[in-house]
């Protein structure tokens, strides 16, 4: 198979590049090893940065975030909740930092405005009474899964060939050029080969591995960040700690939950990264200093992601969060570029810069249009008969332009309107819609696309229903559940206390009644 540009990595960056290049008429193939957003993208905090977090120590990132914050609100409104954010100075630790912070913001073009504690309390009734100062910023929530899906959908609509569960396994070079890229598709046993004119390495934390296939080296530092999902929305907008960036500084309202993060630790490998119970307790403890009720809330799952930080001299949190675009012709491979680092917030900008470089090499095809064109076209407010307002609203916020088709699918039959997941108010028809597509091979794929199973029972009830949806489109059910549950277990293990422990015990009994012997992961 030939193509002009082969993009490797289906995170936000890769999907953004596929969209950008396709919009400029380039023939693109995008390959993702697992599912879209299964890497850092889906494991991020979902924060559309205003830039304020970086204003003091990382001014370049702050500037980029401030600009892209506005751009994304314009082009991806459906998956953004423009909640605003605040920074809180608790007790006296803020005193010397406030001035530095405000100066940093104004130097980097980040909009920040000090508000009274009273105003802050009105916006966020649950914040700590020891709040001393509050600064209002333009942070927002962005759903990384739906953002990536929408980029993929549009790239496809423009003619790109996009495949998940398709891993790049090796490369063959002839002198200074990558001639063939070998791929392993989970759907078939044979190894396929792609002959690309250009290769774009957008594999984030795994980019040095891809580079090494072409005999190249990219020094990156893999840095683990852990987060914990608390049930229910404890905050209306993003709540940040006013201090030098540290652990447990941020609470993000996400759909029906609040996500507390993050930690920051160097780890040896980007694979198999999980959060620990100590990290969970630390995060909750820190966040409860800003919003005390977080301390009593229920932790439903924890997860960890890997930040691919371009390795420079600095350490951990001090490494710049701006991105790095590498043209490998400087190291002797003429048709490969790598893009690493950056933020979810700046994914579009990263995609633009990478695409510009590719276009430069392929021969000019026009300018980037991604900053002005809404992804998937406008998503008008639809009135869906037969579907409750709550469910229709949820669909519009998840699927953007695709929600019309999905709602139709749900409305068509009585079964389609059945609730698949009540935590997240997902209808069976939504899952049926995705189960038909080539992209969905397992339960996790289905849940990632619909948010089913993301609520507090952590797919105790919807897993069997999802399975029955998958069964209808073929496939052996039991191993699918077992695999899924084992993967889930990694995220549940660190939060096995209080109510979530009771929840898991109920699930064990429930699964038993379905002849599913599930005792958690290995060793439990």
């Amino acid at each position: 198979m030939r193509c002009e540009a082969l993009v490797i990595g289906g995170g936000a960056t890769g999907a953004g590049i596929a969209r950008d290049l396709s919009m400029r008429g380039v023939e693109v193939i995008l390959l993702e090893r697992g599912d879209f957003s299964a890497g850092a993208t889906g494991r991020s905090h979902g924060m559309l940065h205003s830039g304020a977090r970086y204003a003091v120590k990382d001014p370049d990132s702050a500037r980029e975030c401030a600009i892209e914050n506005e751009v994304l609100k314009r082009i991806a409104p459906f998956c953004i909740e423009d909640t605003g954010g605040i920074f809180l100075g608790i007790d006296d630790s803020y005193a010397s930092y406030l001035d530095t912070f405000m100066k940093g913001c104004s130097n980097t073009g980040v909009k920040a405005e000090e508000i009274t504690v009273r105003e802050a309390m009105e916006r966020e009734p649950l914040i700590s009474p020891s709040t001393r100062v509050a600064v209002s910023v333009l942070d927002a929530y962005i759903d990384p899964f739906f953002l990536t899906q929408a980029n993929v959908a549009e790239a496809r609509a423009m003619g790109a060939e996009v495949r998940n569960h398709c891993e790049v396994a090796g490369m063959d070079l002839w002198e200074d050029t990558v001639m063939e890229v070998r791929i392993r598709d989970r759907r078939s046993t044979s190894l396929n080969v792609i002959k690309p004119e250009m290769v774009v390495n957008a594999t984030g934390a795994w980019s040095s591995r891809i580079a090494s296939m072409a005999g190249l080296e990219i020094p990156i530092r893999v840095d683990k960040g852990s987060l914990v999902i608390m049930d229910g929305r404890k905050v209306n907008g993003l709540v940040n700690r006013l201090r030098l960036p540290s652990d447990g500084d941020i609470i993000v309202p996400s759909h029906s939950s609040s996500i507390v993060g993050t930690t920051c630790d160097e780890v040896p490998s980007p694979d198999d990264c999980v959060a620990t119970i100590d990290e969970v307790k630390l995060l909750i403890h820190q966040a409860a200093e800003m919003v005390p009720s977080i301390g009593e809330a229920r932790a439903v799952r924890a997860y960890a992601g890997i930040r691919p930080l371009p390795a420079e001299a600095d350490e951990g949190r001090d490494i710049s969060r701006t991105f790095k675009l590498i043209d490998h012709s400087q190291d002797g491979v003429v048709n490969m570029v790598s893009i690493i680092g950056g933020k979810l917030t700046t994914y579009r900008l990263m995609a633009e810069k990478a695409s510009d470089l590719v276009i430069e090499k392929l021969g000019n095809r026009g300018k980037c249009r991604t900053a002005s064109q809404e992804i998937g076209g406008e998503c008008s407010d639809h009135e869906f008969d037969l579907i409750s307002d709550l469910q229709a609203g949820r669909m519009a916020a998840k699927y953007g332009a695709a929600c019309r088709d999905i709602a139709v699918m749900c409305s068509r039959t009585l079964r389609g309107r059945e609730l698949l997941c009540s935590c997240e108010q997902v209808l069976r028809g939504e899952a049926e819609y995705f189960a038909q597509t080539e992209d969905v091979l397992n339960i996790a794929d289905l849940l990632r696309r619909t948010r089913a199973g993301m609520g507090y029972c952590q797919s105790g009830m919807c897993v069997t229903r999802s399975l029955s949806v998958l069964e209808e489109s073929g496939g052996d059910p039991l191993p699918l559940v077992q695999d899924f549950l084992e993967e889930r277990w990694k995220g549940i293990q660190p939060v096995l206390f209080d109510t979530q422990l009771r929840q898991e015990l109920l699930k064990v009994q429930l699964f038993k009644s379905l002849s599913l012997e599930w005792k958690g992961g290995e060793g439990h």
């Binding site: 229910g232 309202p253 029906s256 939950s257 307002d389 009540s422 935590c423 609520g455």
Partner: protein
């Protein structure tokens, strides 16, 4: 919020009478309304379709393994959602009646005269329904108190206790009623009520510890076999009103049965699902009369199966709603006892 503790066992939904009778499409049930729905945001308007169908029977709380007070959470949401412009017609009538008459219902004809004293040892708080809609309850209770020789009176100028307004979420109006009533409560030692809704309301919002008439009769009067005449060999079934059996407490059910056992010539027959809601509470009769009627029919059909001659219910709301089915065998408990008291 304690709703956080839900483990999704589904118990509350399975035991909710409205879900059972109306179906989950029509009433999405306690968990969706109190736990799942509100998690999304402060914007809870999307719950409006269903939330007023809860009868506040408190069955869901009873079965919840995490002891989540789901009905209370539902009432809190009703409070947050209260919008005078979006009220159901039946609920608007209640509010208008309160504004015009300080009663939840429009007074019908001449109210029975208040008994002699306006002060005394015992204060009898009749409540809107007993006084205005089924005055036999009022008369029966007054007569009972006279027969047992209680020193009692009815507070002058009492108004609706405010319970119906709490159910609608209209807390401001409710508070104004509480204020009016409290002014009339001085000078009494014990407070008794006919209506479990009033009892609960007085307990929760007035800072007093009222008794339902049944509690009073059992605990303070001490009736025995000699107190009653022969009932004439009749069979009765006993309906357990939600706000008495669950909100006030199981002990009230034991008291009621113990009192019935003292009556010679009376047989109490088993009533299937005796503690299932009759549909009379939570403002459902006014808001969704059809739903309330469906539940009442279910109750009356259990009654028919029981083979009893009479169905006794110690709650004016239950009597009112059960009578809507058109079967004349429903009797208010205390009124029934009064007729047999020597």
């Amino acid at each position: 919020m304690t709703t956080d503790r839900c483990i999704k066992c589904g118990g509350c939904e399975q035991s909710c009478p409205v879900v059972c009778i109306e179906g989950i499409q029509s009433f999405s049930g306690p968990r969706t309304l109190a736990v799942d729905g509100p998690r999304f945001s402060a914007e809870i308007d999307h719950l409006r379709d269903h939330i007023m169908k809860c009868t506040t029977c408190w069955k869901c709380e009873e079965v919840c393994p995490s002891r989540i007070d789901l009905p209370q959470a539902i009432l809190e949401i009703r409070k947050l959602m209260f919008d005078p412009l979006k009220m159901l017609p039946g609920h608007r009538r209640i509010v208008e009646n309160v504004d015009r008459f300080r009663m939840s219902i429009e007074p019908e004809g001449e109210a029975p005269p208040a008994p002699a004293g306006e002060k005394g040892e015992v204060m009898y708080f009749p409540g809107c329904i007993s006084r205005e809609r089924i005055p036999s309850i009022y008369r029966g209770t007054v007569s009972t108190l006279e027969k047992v020789g209680a020193d009692f009176g009815v507070p002058k100028g009492w108004v609706c206790c405010g319970a119906p307004l709490e159910k609608l979420g209209d807390r401001d109006r409710m508070d104004s009623l509480v204020e009016d009533n409290l002014r009339t409560f001085d000078g009494f030692e014990t407070i008794i009520t006919s209506c479990p809704g009033c009892t609960t309301q007085l307990f929760n919002h007035y800072g007093v510890e009222p008794l339902h008439t049944i509690e009073y009769l059992y605990e303070s009067v001490g009736l025995n076999r000699l107190s009653f005449r022969h009932a004439g060999d009749i069979k009765v079934a006993f309906h357990q009103p939600c706000h008495l059996s669950r909100t006030i407490g199981r002990h009230s059910m034991d008291y009621a049965l113990a009192l019935l056992q003292e009556v010679p010539g009376l047989e109490v027959l088993e009533l299937e699902n005796a503690d299932m809601c009759c549909g009379g509470g939570g403002g459902v009769v006014a808001g969704y009369p059809d739903v309330a009627l469906d539940l009442a029919k279910e109750k009356m059909s259990s009654f028919s199966d029981s083979g009893a001659d009479l169905l006794l219910a110690p709650c004016p709301f239950c009597v009112l709603n059960l009578e809507r089915v058109g079967n004349s065998s429903v009797k208010e408990f205390v009124t029934f006892l009064e007729a047999l008291l020597e």
